[in-house]
């Protein structure tokens, strides 16, 4: 019996899903429904592995079903959007509904992040886990209150201690979620950012040469 998937019957992923399993589309529907249910209850991203365990199903099938859900719950098609973020899958509001959401909900995590906070966050995201002295060394000023503020917002958390006994920090999954990153590896490479560093070096070296030895 060739019963098309109800989700997106014309979708190539859908037919691949049905054929690959050689099973009636109903099974795929049931799995997709289960995943929707799990995702709507969760308040943080769920990994495909977690979903497979909870749905008691094959990981490959779960990934395929997630792909289907991703197309059904996408910008422009639904007010709910499935996003792959912070190493997992989660529902969020569509961008189109952001204005309405803003009338009703706050965004306390990222509201009013200062330049110092963003710099500290960058240091910890790129070089973490690292301690407050590490941050202070790079930024040139004490980082204590900024770090405390970021911990309070839930963007960073403690992650062991260094050899000197100072607490080290790392970014949290919430950081990845707020900034819409699939993982920390989605950050641009640090080497690509400091394009003007050679310029600074050249200027300093030129100054050093002009000075009598």
């Amino acid at each position: 019996m060739e019963r098309p998937l109800r989700l997106i019957s014309t979708n190539s992923a859908a037919s691949a899903f049905g054929e690959a399993e050689g099973a009636p589309g109903k099974l795929g529907d049931e799995l997709a429904h289960t995943l929707e249910a799990l995702l709507v209850v969760a308040s943080q991203p769920l990994s495909a592995e977690d979903l497979a365990v909870a749905a008691d199903d094959d990981l490959a099938r779960v990934e395929q079903a997630l792909e289907l859900l991703g197309e059904r719950f996408s910008e422009g098609r639904s007010g709910i959007v499935l996003e792959h973020v912070a190493g997992g899958y989660a529902f969020r509001a569509s961008r189109a509904a952001a204005t309405a959401c803003a009338r009703m909900f706050e965004r306390p995590v990222e509201r009013g992040l200062s330049q110092a906070a963003l710099e500290t966050l960058s240091v910890i995201a790129y070089l973490g886990p690292c301690s407050r002295p590490d941050v202070a060394r790079i930024r040139g000023v004490a980082a204590d209150s900024v770090v405390a503020g970021l911990v309070e917002r839930g963007l960073i958390s403690e992650s062991g201690r260094d050899e000197g006994g100072a607490v080290r920090y790392r970014t949290t999954p919430l950081f990845e979620r707020v900034f819409g990153l699939e993982s920390l590896s989605a950050l641009p490479r640090l080497d690509d950012l400091g394009g003007t560093a050679d310029e600074i070096r050249d200027r300093l070296e030129a100054l050093a040469e002009r000075r009598p030895a």
Binding site: V41, A42, S43, Q44, A54, E83, A90, F91, R92, A93, R95, A97, A98, T99, C101, A102, F105, R107, V109, E110, L113, Q115, L118, E119, L121, S122, V123, A125, Y126, R137, I138, R139, G140, L174, R177, V178, F179, G180, L187, P188, L190, D191, L193, G194, G195, T196, A197, I200, R201, L204, E205, L207, A208
Partner: protein
């Protein structure tokens, strides 16, 4: 123009320049509180008022204000001073370039994060603790109910009955030994207690010893012992027989029924 007498009017200090330096050197004034630029401006204003350029004053001022700047810089960057102290100028310049480069990148990264934040500003999602905690997975070894039952059976067995035999122990009457020792002393002047008590049970020995003490108290016998655990030698005392009455009186105190041969631990 005397540089040292340059009158200053700063936020942290008001007075002549050399007093300012003195206070800083005595650590009574924090260099970080001194606005060096203000000092320079005051000096330049004073310089302008002069008709001709006072090179001596300029030189002296440069030396003094340079020292002040160094003090302030050292205080503001104490760690840098330690870290960079051992480096020669070339290395220090290299280190400085490296750090500026590092900081530059972090600043760029912070800029990228800010852009990202603005671009993602319209993504609303649910936050908060998980409303449902995943069910805890039980991790225990496969169980053997038979083994558990066997273990319980062992525990459930009735414990052996506790013997109460010792509770009913009968003491031989003290009088029995009193009579025995008196009879003995009528035949012999003296005897060894150990010899007489040799064949007796532990309990009988104790009662026999009690009888001995009774006889000693009434003066019927005298007791000698060379040292602890040495043989106890008993000999007839001076007041023979005189204490027999007192023995029975003593006996009536400790045993309510004198002559009753069956008092036991409980009644004692």
């Amino acid at each position: 123009m005397h540089v040292r007498e340059l009158e200053l009017d700063l936020d942290a200090f008001e007075g002549p320049f050399d007093l300012l330096l003195t206070l800083v050197l005595r650590e009574e004034l924090e260099p970080r509180d001194v606005d060096v630029a203000d000092v320079v401006v005051t000096f330049v204003e004073r310089l302008v008022e002069q008709e001709r350029l006072d090179l001596d004053a300029c030189g002296e001022f440069l030396v003094l204000v340079g020292a002040l700047l160094e003090l302030k810089a050292r205080e503001l960057f104490p760690e840098e001073q330690v870290e960079l102290a051992d480096l020669d100028p070339e290395e220090a310049a290299e280190e400085l370039a490296r750090r500026l480069e590092e900081f530059r990148r972090i600043k760029e990264a912070a800029g990228w994060l800010l852009q990202r934040l603005e671009a993602e500003n319209d993504r609303y999602f649910r936050l908060g603790p998980a409303p449902l905690v995943p069910r805890a997975e039980l991790r225990i070894a496969p169980q053997q109910p038979e083994a558990l039952a066997a273990a319980l059976r062992g525990l459930a067995a009735e414990p052996p009955a506790v013997s109460l035999a010792h509770m009913g122990l009968r003491f031989p009457p003290v009088v029995q030994f009193l009579e025995r020792f008196r009879a003995l002393l009528r035949r012999r002047r003296r005897f060894d207690f150990e010899q007489e008590a040799a064949g007796l049970s532990r309990l009988e020995q104790a009662v026999a010893f009690l009888a001995l003490l009774e006889l000693r108290r009434s003066g019927e016998i005298s007791i000698e012992q060379a040292g602890p655990f040495a043989p106890i030698r008993v000999s007839a005392g001076a007041g023979l027989r005189s204490g027999s009455g007192s023995v029975s009186r003593e006996g009536s105190q400790s045993t309510p029924e004198e002559g009753d041969s069956s008092w036991n631990v409980r009644s004692a």
